[in-house]
């Protein structure tokens, strides 16, 4: 049984720690998914994410594991955001993000075959930067966190292990897996190597 399904079973069984793990793993990422789709409106994002996660918890027994749990929750969140915008059409500007475009959405959600997009030239630095963050969010949540702590905050492997509640060796192993997953996901979405992406981002 996958870790996600185990987490769901524990949560539905009333395990408070499982609920906390679920919330900590999915809320930050679903919030980041919703926020730009609601024109950066924090209150709207709060309502939409709250509704989406509540709905996901109620339907979680129906989750079959055919996609990642995060992808499944994002689908619910996307519908909630559309409903929210419809109900407040006069007040909210509906944004169509580049990762909502069919060709990119499939690349991000399915991650199957690399496409020959030259996104960096096509969309500019800010959007590509956002896409990199989207890619981080699509990784298992502790992968994205570990990479961010290590490479942006400069945390040591020991500190990462402490924050994740695992030992140093396990943290090292997790970081190694996270690097591989991140590299593969970047190449799949951008069709370019990290060094090229970094160069085009001006790094």
């Amino acid at each position: 049984m996958s870790e996600e399904k185990q987490l769901i079973q524990r949560m539905l069984g009333g395990d408070e720690q499982a609920f906390e793990a679920f919330f900590n793993a999915y809320f930050p990422r679903v919030y980041r998914f919703a926020l730009p789709r609601l024109n950066g409106d924090v209150e709207a994002a709060r309502e939409v994410v709250q509704a989406a996660l509540a709905k996901a918890m109620r339907r979680i027994g129906d989750f079959r594991g055919e996609s990642a749990l995060f992808t499944w929750i994002c689908q619910i969140c996307r519908r909630e955001a559309v409903d929210y915008i419809r109900s407040r059409r006069r007040h909210v500007k509906h944004l169509v993000l580049i990762d909502d475009r069919p060709e990119l959405r499939s690349a991000i959600e399915a991650i199957e075959a690399p496409e020959e997009y030259d996104l960096v030239r096509q969309y500019g630095r800010a959007e590509v930067g956002r896409l990199v963050r989207v890619v981080l969010d699509r990784l298992p949540s502790n992968y994205g966190d570990a990479l961010e702590w290590k490479y942006m905050e400069g945390s040591s492997v020991e500190e990462i292990g402490e924050r994740l509640g695992i030992g140093t060796i396990a943290a090292q192993s997790l970081l190694a897996r996270a690097r591989i997953a991140f590299r593969e996901a970047l190449e799949q979405v951008f069709g370019a190597e990290a060094a090229d992406i970094a160069a085009s981002l001006g790094a």
Binding site: F23, F27, Y31, A54, Y151, M152, L186, A195, A203
Partner: protein
């Protein structure tokens, strides 16, 4: 891809955005409450299905009897009335029902949940037991006529001056239950922590493990998520109680003694009624008031009523001081 490449890409992309702490906290508590409800529903269903499987092998009649017995106790029994519903107030019968907009006058049955939104507030009348007020962002369930379960937000209970021992409301929270001895108090749930403020009388707090703490008027008990209890003083009136005034149900003052109205205003405002002279107390008992204070807050009603009588009054610290002098209920 080297470590350096990863660092360059991540630094160039910038940090991921985080939800404001208050947003994260609010959503976490909302979802925790939803999750508890889902777990309770699932466990309830499982118990019912287990029972069904056993009963089915016996007889159809037995199954029918069991199904009837499996219904929540008193599910259809009216236990309260929605006295006030301001803005966003919803009611849900059971887990398979959707939320319905609630309006004043609605009868509430055992098993029903009431939820107020960000702008909503409500007052419930539990006949013979208590009056209860719900602050915004609150969810409670009426387990029975004398038992309310609060999942989140704040509930204010006014049990009246004389509450019979066998008709006292019990408020259940994630961290334990509150039972009162003729009192006014507020229970505010913040995640797994609970704050209990006693305005009048005394309350008894009982933890799930059976530990008991008592709180008297003017005291605040904070029960942390780990069960630790801390105490502090709490004002019995002032801004932190003002939300209650916005949900005060209208009272009919027509033909009633002024003293009765003043007593009501005193309870609503958390202040004792004090007469400057014994003669004024006698006057207040004799004076009959006329008209309506519908739509007014207790403080506005006090102003309006006193303006039409021969006695005067003002708010003086923790008192409504009734005098024969100047008009007005000026501030402390």
């Amino acid at each position: 891809m080297s470590d350096e490449d990863i660092a360059r890409v991540l630094k160039a992309a910038g940090p991921r955005e985080h939800a404001p702490a208050e947003v994260e906290r609010a959503v976490r508590e909302y979802l925790r409450s939803e999750w508890r409800e889902i777990v309770a529903e699932r466990q309830g269903r499982r118990r019912r299905w287990t029972g069904f499987a056993l009963a089915a092998s016996v007889a159809v009649a037995a199954v029918s009897a069991w199904l009837l017995a499996a219904q929540p106790q008193g599910a259809a029994e009216p236990v309260a009335t929605m006295a006030v519903a301001l803005d966003d107030v919803r009611v849900r019968g059971s887990w398979w029902d959707g939320w319905e907009v609630a309006t004043a006058g609605r009868t509430l049955k055992a098993g029903e949940s009431i939820e107020t939104g960000a702008n909503g507030r409500a007052a419930l009348s539990l006949p013979g037991i208590a009056s209860a007020r719900l602050d915004h962002d609150t969810r409670v369930r009426l387990a029975s006529a004398d038992r309310v379960v609060i999942d989140r937000g704040a509930l204010y209970v006014d049990a009246g001056l004389e509450s019979p021992a066998d008709s006292r409301l019990v408020v259940e929270t994630p961290a334990g239950a509150v039972r009162h001895v003729g009192t006014q108090y507020e229970v505010r749930v913040d995640g797994r922590a609970v704050r209990l403020r006693v305005r009048e009388g005394r309350v008894e707090w009982r933890s799930p493990s059976g530990a008991v703490e008592r709180g008297d008027a003017g005291e605040q008990l904070t029960i942390a998520a780990d069960g630790a209890v801390s105490r502090a003083g709490a004002a019995r009136y002032g801004e932190t109680w003002d939300w209650i005034a916005s949900t005060t149900p209208a009272i009919d003052i027509e033909g009633r003694p002024l003293a009765e109205f003043l007593s009501w205003a005193g309870r609503e405002l958390g202040r004792e009624v004090a007469y400057e002279t014994p003669g004024l107390a006698a006057d207040a008992a004799r004076i009959v008031v006329h008209g309506s204070v519908a739509g007014l807050t207790p403080a506005e009603a006090l102003d309006a009523v006193l303006a039409t009588t021969s006695v005067r009054g003002r708010l003086d610290k923790g008192r409504i001081l009734v005098t024969g002098g100047q008009v007005g209920n000026g501030t402390d």
